[in-house]
Symmetry: C2
Subunit: 172 residues, 2 copies
C-alpha cells in the first residue's frame, strides 16, 4: 500500500480555499490553549481548576440535566477513566455531586451544585465576553455566516470521521 497507492494524489493541489481552512483551525485551536485564554477565564471565574475539569463542569452546565460518567466522556470526546478523575476533583471542591440513578445502580448521575453552576456561568461569560470583544467589529451577517458554516463543517467532518472509523478504515 505504501509503494502503490490507488490514485497518486500528489499531482494537482486541491483548491486553495481548502488549503487555507485547515491551518486556520489548527492555529485557532492552539491560540486558545497556548494563549492560555481558558486559564484566564478560569481564574476570572475564581476557579482553581485545570482545563479538563472545567470541561466537565461546562459539559454539565450545558447539558442542563444530570449526566452519567459515560455521557460526559462522549460529549467531551474522551475516555471514561479520564472523566472519573475529573469528577472526583470537582466533587472534592464541592462543584458537582453524585445522585444515584434509581434505574441502574451501576451508574451514577452527576450534576453541578449551586456553586458549580455559578462558577460555570462565570467562566462561560468571561470566555464569551472576551470573544465578543474580539469580534466586536464584525458585521452581524459575518457572525451569522461564521456560526452557520462552522457548525456545518464540524458536523460534516465528524460524521465523516465516524463513518470512516466504523467502516473499517481502522486498521492502518
Amino acid at each position: 500500500m505504501t509503494t502503490e497507492p490507488p490514485e497518486p494524489p500528489a499531482a494537482e493541489p486541491p483548491s486553495a480555499d481548502l488549503l487555507a481552512v485547515l491551518p486556520r483551525i489548527t492555529r485557532l485551536s492552539s491560540a486558545l490553549t497556548k494563549g492560555r485564554l481558558i486559564e484566564r477565564a478560569t481564574a476570572e471565574a475564581g476557579l482553581a481548576l485545570d482545563r479538563p475539569a472545567v470541561g466537565v463542569l461546562v459539559s454539565l452546565r450545558t447539558a442542563d440535566k444530570p449526566l452519567r460518567i459515560g455521557e460526559i466522556a462522549d460529549r467531551m470526546q474522551v475516555v471514561g477513566p479520564h472523566v472519573t478523575r475529573q469528577v472526583q476533583a470537582l466533587e472534592k471542591r464541592g462543584l458537582v455531586r453524585r445522585v444515584g440513578d434509581p434505574h441502574d445502580r451501576r451508574a451514577s448521575l452527576i450534576e453541578p451544585t449551586e456553586a458549580g453552576t455559578e462558577a460555570a456561568n462565570r467562566y462561560v461569560a468571561s470566555l464569551l465576553g472576551w470573544f465578543a470583544e474580539a469580534l466586536a467589529g464584525w458585521p452581524q451577517q459575518d457572525r451569522d455566516d461564521l456560526a452557520r458554516l462552522l457548525t456545518r463543517l464540524a458536523d460534516d467532518v465528524t460524521a465523516r470521521l465516524d463513518r470512516f472509523d466504523e467502516e473499517g478504515g481502522g486498521e492502518v
Copy 2:
C-alpha cells in the same frame, strides 16, 4: 481584578452565535486529532512519523525555503527544544538535512530533502483530498465564505491574544 471587573459579565448571555462558535472549534480540532485523520494521512503518505514531526516537515514544505530551528518553532508555536528533537528524527529518516548558515555559525538552516518534499506533498494531498470529499456538497460560495471568515477569526483572535500577553495580562 477578580473582585471588581469593569463590567460584570454574568448578567446577560452574549449572543447565541458566539456561544456556538467556540465549541465548534474545539470539536473540530479534537475530531482531527482524535479521529486520527492526521495519522491516517501520514500512513497514506508512507511515513512512519508522529504528528509533531509531520508538523515540522509541513512547515518546511510550506516555507519553500530553508528555516532555522527558531523559525520553525515560531511557526509551529512551540518551543525550541521540541523542534530540535523532531528535526533530529527527520534527519535520521533522511527527510530533512541541515545546511550551515554562512552568516551565523551558531544557527543551522533546515531544508527538506527530495524524499522529504515528496512525502510532505503526499501528506498534504491526502489530507486535503479527505477534506475536499467532506466538503464536496458545499456551494462554492460557502467554501469561500468559510475560508474568509475563518482566516479573519484566526487573525483577530491571535492578534488580540498577543496584545493581551504583552500588555501585562501576563501575571494571573
